[in-house]
Each structure stands twice: as C-alpha cells, then as structure tokens.
Amino acid sequence: MAAVTIDSLLQNPTLVFRPKAKVLLKPPRSLDCSRNRKLPLSRGSCLCSFNPRRTIHVVRASSSETALIGNFDISSSDDILYKDIFPVKRIEKVEGKFFIRLDRSKDQHDWQLTVGCSLPGKWILHWGVSYLGDSGSEWDQPPKGMRPPGSIPIKDYAIETPLKKLSEGDIFHEVKIDFNPISEIAAIHFVLKDEETGAWYQHRGMDFKVPLVDYLEDDGNIVGAKRGFGVWSGALQQFSNVLLKSEASHADSQNNSIESKDSKNKNRCLEGFYEEQSIVKEVSVGNLVSVAVRKSPETGKVIVCLETDIPGDVVVHWGVCRDDAKIWEIPAAPYPPETTVFKNKALRTLLQPKATGNRSGALFTLDEEHFGFLFVLKLDDNTWLKFKENDFYVPLLGTSSVPGLYGQSDSTSEEISSKSYTDGIINEIRNLVSGLSSEKSQKTKKKEVQESILQEIEQLAAEAYSIFRSSITTVPDEVVSETETTKPAVKISSGTGTGFEILCQGFNWESHKSGRWYMELKEKASEISSLGFTVIWLPPPTESVSPEGYMPKDLYNLNSRYGTIDELKELVKSLHEVGMKVLGDVVLNHRCAHFKNQNGVWNIFGGRLNWNDRAVVADDPHFQGRGNKSSGDNFHAAPNIDHSQEFVRKDLKEWLGWLREEIGYDGWRLDFVRGFWGGYVKDYLEASGPYFAVGEYWDSLSYTYGEMDHNQDSHRQRIVDWINATNGTAGAFDVTTKGILHSALERCEYWRLSDQKGKPPGVVGWWPSRAVTFIENHDTGSTQGHWRFPGGKEMQGYAYILTHPGTPAVFYDHIFSHHRSEIASLISVRNRNGIHCRSLVKIVKAERDVYAAIIDEKVAMKIGPGYYEPPSGSQRWSLALEGRDYKVWETS
C-alpha cells in the first residue's frame, strides 16, 4: 500500500475527515456475546481482550457537479454523448513513525521525555504520572512545573498535551516533557490520541509506562520490554481506523534501553533511550473515476471509456441494461482484454495501466441498443466501490435517469456485496456522505440549517405544549372527574409504578461522548415529558472504568462521563419538575477493583466501600474471590460481587438509599440481574423503596437448527422465575417479546405472535404487569447493534408494544428520529384509551402476514402487510393512526 504524505492529502479539498466514520468500522460481533460492552476499557485495571482485526477498505463515492471535466481529459473527440467524473473515497493506510526518547536536557540536570509522531493528525499526549509509594495503576496529575505549555488537565488524573511540529519543515509532531529526576515521580504513563479520528494508541492495551525508578512492578506495559503494540480505539469497543503495526523485530535492538541493567540499586540512575515504532493510520483518500461515452462514427457502436487514478489493480465489474429497471445483463462480445465472466451475470475487466500518469482504464465497445452501462469497482477481495450504495450508472441513450437515483440495487450487486460486509458500511457511510463540491455542500449546509430550525421549532412547540397542557388541567372540573372514573384506583408498587407508566430510555451508547449528557438531556426534559413519557431511565452514574458506565469502580463517586454529580442532581430536578420519575441504572453484579491482592489479581476495592476479596464470588478463577459461589451467571470482565455476604448487602442497601436521598432517583434499572439471585434484589428494593424498578435479565432464546422455536416458554419462564424471586418487586425487560418480534417481522411470520393458548408469546403474555416491553436499547441497537431490531420495522414494533399491556419502553434513538411523531401518536392513543400494564388483550388474528389484536375492547391494532379491519359490530371503530404495515383504531 502506498504511503501518502500528509501534505498532498491536505491539499485535496475533497478530503473531509469525518471522525464519525470510525463508528461504522466495527467488526461483526457474535450476538451471544451479550456482555461485550463490558469488556474493560482502559488503563490496565482489568482484563483485556482483542477482537481480531480485519483490514477493510471503506469506500464511498458520490456524484459531483463540479466542473471536473476540464481537468480530466478522457477523450479528445468531440462526439461525447455523456461524460462524468465520480469522486470516490477510499481508505488507505498511511505508515509513519512514532518514537519515545528519554534524554538529559541541555543543562544536564533535568531530563526530558520526548514523544513524537510523523503521521499527519492532531496528536494529543494523554498522560499522567505515578509517585513513589503509589500502588495500583492509578495515574496522578504531574506537578505543575512538568506540564508543557498548552496542557489541559483531564479530571484529576491526567494531562492532555498536544504534539506540535517544532518548525514547518519537521516531519515529526512532538512533545517534550521536562522533569527533575530527584522528584517523587516513579513513572510517566501515557497514551497517544489522534483527535482527528478519536483513536487511541496504547501499548498492549495499556498505557505506555516510562519508569523513572527501577523497582516498579512490571505490569507488562513498560516500554522497552517485549514489544508488541496494541491499539485501542477512541470509541472504545469499536473498531478503530488506526492500526499500530507491531514490529517486534524492530524494537528488539532497543529492548534493553530503559531497564538499565545497572540501575538495580535504587539510585535513580536514569539512562536515556530512544525507541521508534512503525505506526499505521487509515486515511481516506480521494480518487476520481471518469466515464465518457461516445459513438464511433465508423461502426455506429457506443464506446464507453472508463478511467481512474486509483492506484493498484482495479477490476471493473460491469454489465449493461435494457431499461430503467437496470437489470444487469451481459452484452455481446467483444470484451476488452482481461475480461472474465462472473456467474453469468456480469463481466469483470481488469483496468489496464495508462501510459501517462498513474492512471488505468479500459474501453468498452457496446452495441447501440443498450440503455445503460452499469458497473462497480473492485479494488481487492474485500473492497468494493459503489456509487452511493448503488451501482454506477452511465446512460447510453441519453435517458432521463439521474445517476444514483434509482431504487433497489439489482440482485447481482446484492449478491456480490453480501460477500463482504463493505456494503453495510457503505450503507451507513452514505448517511454521512454529503456532497463534495462546494455548491453541493452549501446546499447541504442549508439543509442542515433547515433541519436545525425544524428541531428548534419542535422544541419550542414541546415547551409551549407542556405549559398549555398543564394549565388546562386546572380549568375544567368535569374533565378531571371524568378521567378519574375511568381509571381504576391507582396503586403504586415498585414492580409496576402506577400501571400507566411509559418508559423512555434516556441515552444511547454514544451519550458519554460529549461529557455533558446530563445537561443536554436537561434541555430536552419538557419535550420528552410532553410526548407522554412518565418515567425516564438515565445512564449509570458512577465512576466507571468504561466510559459508558457499566464498569463501576467507586460507587460513591458520581462524576462520570455523563457529567458531574451536581449536574445529575440538576437534571433529576428538572425531570421531576416536568412530572417524570427518574430511574438510576445501577450495576450491582460486578465492580472494578482499585488494587491488586498479593497475587497481583485485581480484587481489592477502594473508595468508601473498601471491600476486600471476600466481597468477590469464589467461582471465577480470574479474580480469586474469597466469597461464596455466585448465585447466578458470571460476568467475566470484572470481579462479580458476592451478594450473599451480609456486609456487601448492607453496603449496597445503604448506597441505594443514598442515591434515592442524595440524587433523588425514584427507582432503578438493574443491570445484569442474571448474575445474582432475585431474592437479593427483593432485599435491595424493599430497603430502597423505589417507585419503579426493572431488571435486565437477558439470555438467549431457543433455536433449533438456526431457526427460532415457536415456543419460547422456557425463555420467558426464566425471566418470570427471576421476577418471582424478587417477589414481584421488580419488573423485567421482556426480551422474549423482542426476540419473537424479530422473527415475526423479519421473516413475515406473524403467526409467532400468538402462543399455544392464544396469548402474547412473551413475558407480557404471562405476567403483563411485570413485563417491560421494548424493541431496542443501548446494547441491542445504538452503535453497538448486538441484536438490532429489524430495520424499517421499528414502528410495527412500537405499534405492538405501545398498544399492548406491559410497561412499554421507548429507546432514545427512536424518540429523536423520524419515528418521533408516530411514536408520540401511539403514546397518545395509549393514554387516551387508558391502556395500562394489565390491559386485556384479545388476539384476533395471527397469520402469516398479519397480526391483529383488540386491547381492552377500546383499541384495535394490526401489524403486518396483510389485511385486517376491526369488526363493524356494536362498537364503532375509527382509524386512529396508520403507518407502514400497521394500523391502530379506537372506539369512537
């Protein structure tokens, strides 16, 4: 792969780096790996594991309206029928160097650590120090004098210093840290971060560590030992677009440089060293594909001339079509040289290098009658280059079609793309791709402005609505009494709330990114409330090893990536003001340790709850707990807490009470309750007296020969058993219903939505009041997508759960999407008709292509493409709303 220098890249105006793109680059994960997100994520306090990385090219293409034609001369003849240039983007690996140097500064007293990197990018050194006498892997802020200018403190443990070029001509961006060897500093720790991409460069999954004294324990991350570099992506858990090449051989020669052999006598005799590594980063590169069509005056044939400056072997996968349907066909011979037939559906031609420049191209001679020329480019086995998710299309008859403006890609290209997962990536990237030409991007901007205005309008409207609505209820007395009579007596229990609750999951997997989620959500409070939600589930609030919060460490430290404890309180207060109850996401199953035991295993806790290894379950060998055996499944990435210990339970109850009191949480969303006995949950809930509580009991549905069983009774039984163990003090997410909806919608098997007894087949069919139905959450959907709801069918899912008994939960990403108004309408139908968690559902149809049910004899609904209309009997049904493949009626 050719190395590309930064300068040439930056000159290319079409090169817009979109850090978001890395999100799309995650490797596929197996679905059963449900706790993936809890893999430990930083700074070496936990186990790390890597998914093998695949090299993928990400390619995007879009049409251009700029006047590129002039620059790119394809043919000098003036009988051009059609001419276009498609700019395309590829991801190319750029190789560079990265060095660490420790040496004495000029005055020979102080020392200097220099870190440099030759790759283009906005490099940041994220660093801290440890002091003599520190134990564990905690970083500390370095003393003020050590911080180079431009440093920014990050919380209380790190500094971020940008790498700079010393002068324009320099290849390396570097940063120098001066320090006095007489100080108390034991080591300097750092990782390298590329702000542009958000990628983190780490050392074997941990920080780089430059010891300044010789007796530090070797955690395996001391620079200079057996070298093997690993990379952590900034998105943590997501595949990064940066690779650090491991080059052990290269480093061997410098191996000994740091641990100077003669420094054993604690005399802080430092020795300078210099170490260099190769580093590889993926950079998107713009290329052009130009196409010209002309007619040969002699033969009357059409000649398509295709040319590109993409380096390396480029294969054109092509065909022709007869009409607008763009069905691929193979034209009659002759074909250009190096052409093969691919599965009787397309031809493949290797582009031939041109004499001039680094271009390659081919000429295709076609009969006149063809309507269009279709192609995609293949760069290597995994890399396909398409035009906005579709095939490139070149009109041969000067037709009205606009490139890229047609519906479905044809079967051929679909078949091809399924071979690699490039397609999916391109698909997602398409959303990020905006025009490349300045004219187009201007328009895009205009559109963005328009969109943001619309958003603002919505927010204002929501605000106005919530005020008007609240002021109305105080006026007409009759209305109030009327609603009172229709509602059954409200009895609040922690398993159900009032029974009329509608839950909003108030975050997604990316919410920690901004660092001010609490504040962002606060601005949306009245809007969310006005949509009809009564309960909101906030992200886990504790200090956590992973930024998303599911690897809690000090339970009493509520400053997290979502914001500070004060911001959290403020948020809870505003949510209360708009009449919503607030659920805290509490992780009780596991907890990350602060310290290692004598064997070097992380199982000693710090902070206010300074438990020892007796608090850790005994049956996970990784953590050498001295507690009892686990009462549930083990979560392997962190020490699992032994809830059978009296002191643990006492502490946790106290903690929950403190959260209620101090923060104002009204209830809980309990993480990973599979990990411990439901009876303990009952204990916790009785002690903390929540308004509402729901547990996440997520395990696999049963499948036979890869097909989901119709009968998922054993699956829902396990969930119901857990609820039972909590004595009904908590509800549980109805994973069963989600799973069955998946199959029913995805495969058009709506009959699955009725169990053998004609009831809903999920938990909601057995214990509706304790079932919290949902179709997506931060794990299943969002940017993780471990078990994503069938795309495009979300509204069918919501039409189901928002009309059915159970307590429906709506995922943040869906609320703030184009589904919003439909969801709002469904919620208002639910509220208007007083559907609650115990409403009676009568399934009237469960056939291949349609499912229909009548709830409480007030609301009728159907999902699926099939036909259903509610009976025209004594009740008069009127259509309340309809959308794609669903309809909802109410009695008028």
Binding site: S63, E65, T66, A67, I69, G70, D78, D79, I80, L81, Y82, K83, D84, K295, K388, P395, L397, G398, T399, S400, S401, V402, P403, G404, L405, G435, K440, K443, T444, K446, K447, Q450, I453, L454, E456, I457, E458, L460, A461, A462, E463, A464, Y465, I467, F468, R469, S471, I472, V475, S530, L531, G532, S821, A824, S825, I827, S828
Partner: protein, 536 residues
Amino acid sequence: MEVSVIRSSSQAKISKTELGCRDLRFCFGKSNDKNKIFSRKPNSVCFDSQISRFRKAGLRFTLKAVQSDPILESKSPATSKSLDRLRLFVGLPLDAVSDGNSVNHARAIGAGLKALKLLGVEGVELPVWWGVVENEMGKYDWSGYLAVAEMVQKAGLKLHVSLCFHASSQPRIPLPKWVTKIGESQSSIFFADRSGQHYQQCLSLAVDDLAVLDGKTPVQVYQGFCESFKSTFSPFMGSTITGISMGLGPDGELRYPSHHKPAKSGTITGVGEFQCYDTNMLNLLKQYAEANGNPLWGLGGPHDAPTYDQAPNSNSFFKDHGGSWESPYGDFFLSWYSSELVSHGNRLLSLVSSIFGDTEVNVYGKVPLMHSWYKTRAHPSELTAGFYNTASRNGYEAVAEMFARNSCKIILPGMDLSDEHQPHDALSSPESLLAQIRTTCNKHRVEVAGQNLASGAPGGLEQIKKNMLGENPIDLFTYQRMGAHFFSPEHFPSFTEFVRSLSQPELHPDDLPSDEAEATESVQTSSDPNIHLQTA
C-alpha cells in the same frame, strides 16, 4: 439576460428524450450557469418569447428541463408580489389576556411565537375583549394587550387584532360587568327568541342607536373603545398591527344568535330560531310592517318556524315545497330580518373604517358560514342567522355590497370544512356555500380572508390548502388556534407539514432529486401559488 445555447453534434440526440437537469449539467459541464436556459428544443431557444409563453400558459414548465430559478425572481415582479400575498396567521389563545389584564401562560406564548416565526408564519391574531379592557365605562386598561403586542413585535411577527364586543363561554370571558349589570335590570338590550329567552353574550342589534348604556348608545361605546385602542396602539399601527376585525355579533360574527344552543353531540344541527323577540326588535318590526301596509305582520315572527334543534320539515315555514318562506309574508319577514342585520353591520363597519381609515391597517368583519341545510331550497340555517339566501335568491349580495361600501374585507370561517365529512342527513354543503359567498365577494371586489372552524377536523388541513392555493387563492388565512391541542404531538407535526407545504407546493416524486437540499432550493422560488410545477 444572457442567453446562450450550447450545442454539440450529439445534442439533438440527447434532447430527444427528457433529460434530468443533472444530466444536462453532465453534458455541458459547469458552463451553464443559472442565467442560461436550455430548451428542450434546441433550435427554438429564444428566451423572452419562451418565458412569456410560459406565463400565458400559467407559467408551466418542468423543473427538469429548465433551470431558471433566478429568472423567476428577477424577471417577474408579479411573482414576488404574489409571494407575500399568501399570509398565514395563527390565532392566539382566546384567553391570552384575561380578567385583571394579566397575560396568561406568557412563557408558552413566547415559545409558541418563536416557533411560529421560525416556521415562517406571518403573524398572529389576538382577540381583544371588551370585558377585559373596559371594566368601567369609558375607562380602558390595555396593559395586558400591550404586553402581548410587544411580545409579538419582538418576535418579528405581525398582529391581527380582533375586537370582541361579545362574551365567550369557554374559556369564560364575560361582557363588561357594568354592561351585565345594566342587562339585569334591562334585559331588552339582549336578543330574545320566541320563548323569550335572552341571549346574553352580546347586545341586540336593535339597541345600536338607543342610549341604553348609561346614556350612551352602544355604537358610541364601541366608538370610544376603538378610538382608545387606536391611540394606545398607535406605535404598532401599520407596522406590527396590520389588520383589525370588528366584532359584529355573537362570536364576533355578523349574524343573529340563532344557533346558540349547541347541538347535542352526535345529532345534526337544527335550523335555529329567529331572534326578533326582544322589545326593540319587535318595535322595529312593527314600524316596518306598518310602513309596508301590513301592520298585522308586525306583531311577531313566523308562527310556523321550527325550534332550535329541529329539522326544516318539522314545521311548515322552511318546507322545501310550499313552505311559508316562499309566501309574501315570508318574503316580507325575511327581507326585514336580513336587512336589519346588514344595517347593523353597516353601522359598525362605517364606524371602524372611519376611525382606522387614516392608518395602514385593513379592517375586516367576519361573516359566518351557516352551511347546514344548504342543500334544501330554503337554507333555513342561513335564514335564521339573518342571511336571506335561498335557492332562488342570493342573500350575500347585500352583505358584500355593504362591505364594499365600507372598504372592509370579509373573514370567512370554515375553510377547513369539506362536504364529504359532513353528516349526510344534514344536507349541508360548506364547500358550495363558501364558493357562493366568495363568488359574490369577487363580484363586489371584496377581499376574502380565511379562517378554520376548528383545528383537527378530519382532512381540515388539506381542505384549507385547497382553499388557499386553489384557482381563487386566499391572501390571508388565520389558523385557529394556539393552545395545548395546537402544540400537541398529534397536531403540531401535521401543522408544520402544512405550513411547509404551503410555501413549497408538492412536487411529483419524479422531480425530487436524491439530495433534497436541491429540491428545496429550487422550490423556494416557486412558491407562488399561481405557478403549478408541472410534473412531467
């Protein structure tokens, strides 16, 4: 205007079929900037004649073939003028200012104003209540309304003020206390029906010129009110305040309160009752009968009219065939009854138009849309309301003529009603009635502004759009009304959609390019309702 045609030897071939503009640009590169026009027939490109031809044909062209956005703006001033002719207002809550002159839910209104402004709405309508402002006779407290006007001005919106000389029951905004007090001892200031029941939500038109209000006539009181309004709001006149509606009767409309008993839900609106039974009305009737040489006809209203919620045929007055309405007596009574209403309208409108004549504000009056029973010959609902409009007589001639005489414009409600959503048995036809009134107004060159009856009527927004953009477009429409329902998730998104579609007529899916940004830009300049983007 520079016109250039680029041709190449292959163009004839290309032009045979229709080309997307993108294709065109592909063919000619970027050299065709926006001032150049391509015709589908390359040999006949002649810009001026082409465009004028387009205009004659109602400016029909395809977006695809012609790229002429700037031309529309620069070359046809008519286009840009008609662009801002289409003005949308939204009514503020009826109780935006209520008892004690406090602004209710000011924060919500503030947010609402911002939202409307962002949406591109022209302005808001503000009901100004007699009962709120003039708590003591001759003493006016405008503070609450001034505050609202300032909010509106700050939001950069226009204001249409409705002067309300009636009372409202929901929300409850009564007449001024001192008026009510007079009414207690002197009930004849109110309308009365055959059974002697008084309608106390507004004064009877028969007392307009009688000094019943502590020595002043109602017209004098209204005059004082309007003059005080004018001087208080003079800083806003013409700039923020662009229109004023004069309250003319029940619910501000020019009519008798013939239907004031609300129909029970689910039942069909009855014919209503004549409201000519208060002492003063009876006096007028008596004088009129005597002057006409039929003193016996002046003793009361028709004896054979049905009651409020009855159907036309339940008594003989409104019968389709042989009903008394067609008798000489019927004609006598209906002529008098309707002319009294028109005279009343004339009295008030001449008053306001003389008061506001020297300002830049437009003066409006509201005419009701009494659409039920329109398909019968007698049109009983209109007759009881005071419009002598039957199968054989256009009763709106006199009304329109009266408005024309006072240079006032008409506000017509019910633009959201469509025939298909009316109960079949009601023999109602809001669409035909609307068409009749509008035709009559056109004839008398009276401009018509629109209003909807209720938000959330089935198909309402569609119908409004039809009325606004149709053959005979409306220049001003007031959408009723801001409040909880208006901003609710069930309603607001569709309203947003509606507003956007008004300024951007729908395109055929064919004409929507893949990047919608482009579409919106092309469309913005074509939002003139006269231009129909042809969907080729």
